[in-house]
Symmetry: C2
Subunit: 157 residues, 2 copies
């Protein structure tokens, strides 16, 4: 799993998430990998992803935390169940709540590094904590509460 | 103030926020107005703002809540202090924390309606609660903790 991102296993026809879907050509297409006990995503903001001149807008940071959180949950589910990663075995997670603390302004000229950890794991629920850093300095912390997506989630909505 | 959005008073040279800056041609440019005791913004998602086919991604919802929250704080500050709204009198607010509960999937084919209320107001801090609805149904609830931006905030960073 170390060489492939969990998002690579999201089935292409529904991998349309603006934050992390490989099939959304307008979107951010973030990729979540394991590095030891942590998951990591990296993202280079565009020059127009500003809050104020030179600094990243908070909505982008929230979006990245959200998708890195659900990606971490899906990755951890693979790891914990011992399943071989594949599109068929993938169980997706959806966010039910998202919390972000903005601890410092985030400069826009650096690759953002997101690091995720599983804080809590129950049968259908995971709580993922995420940090965001730019140029080695932590600028935001987040928490994602994610639920395993029911099989009929998309057809029920 | 009812006919002009608070974001219209953000000075043009720093109004580059991707969520609500009138000078960011790539961004969402949301506008926050009063309707009675509530503030309202409306936003039509683009077809590619998807989470899953047909539904809005959570990062957009978080972004809109964030900007509607800080816009509401700035609007309420005008109202509470009795200042005449102008770019010169405007005091901006920055988000220090953002919380979103996703209570139902948000369909993408409707104009989203955000409604904000001041939940708490102190000298330099406001807590704004925001609801998001699509087609008359509430799909998300958020809370923004916003601090008044120090005068030297931009030069200090």
């Amino acid at each position: 799993m170390s060489q492939e991102a969990v998002q690579d296993y999201y089935p292409g026809d529904i991998a349309v998430c603006y934050g992390c879907g490989k099939s959304n050509r307008h979107g951010h297409q973030i990729k979540t990998y394991w590095e030891g006990d942590e998951t990591v995503s990296r993202f280079q903001p565009q020059p127009y992803h500003t809050a104020f001149p030179g600094y990243v807008y908070g909505g982008l940071i929230a979006s990245l935390i959200d998708c890195h959180g659900t990606g971490t949950a899906a990755s951890a589910n693979f790891r914990d169940t011992g399943m071989l990663p594949s599109s068929e075995s993938l169980e997706r997670y959806v966010t039910v709540s998202l919390h972000v603390d903005y601890v410092a302004p985030t400069p826009i000229n650096f690759v953002l590094e997101l690091r995720g950890r599983v804080k809590e794991s129950k049968e259908h629920k995971m709580v993922i904590s995420v940090t965001v850093s730019a140029d080695g300095k932590e600028t935001a912390r987040g928490e994602v509460v994610a639920l395993k997506m029911p099989e009929n989630f998309l057809s029920k909505k």
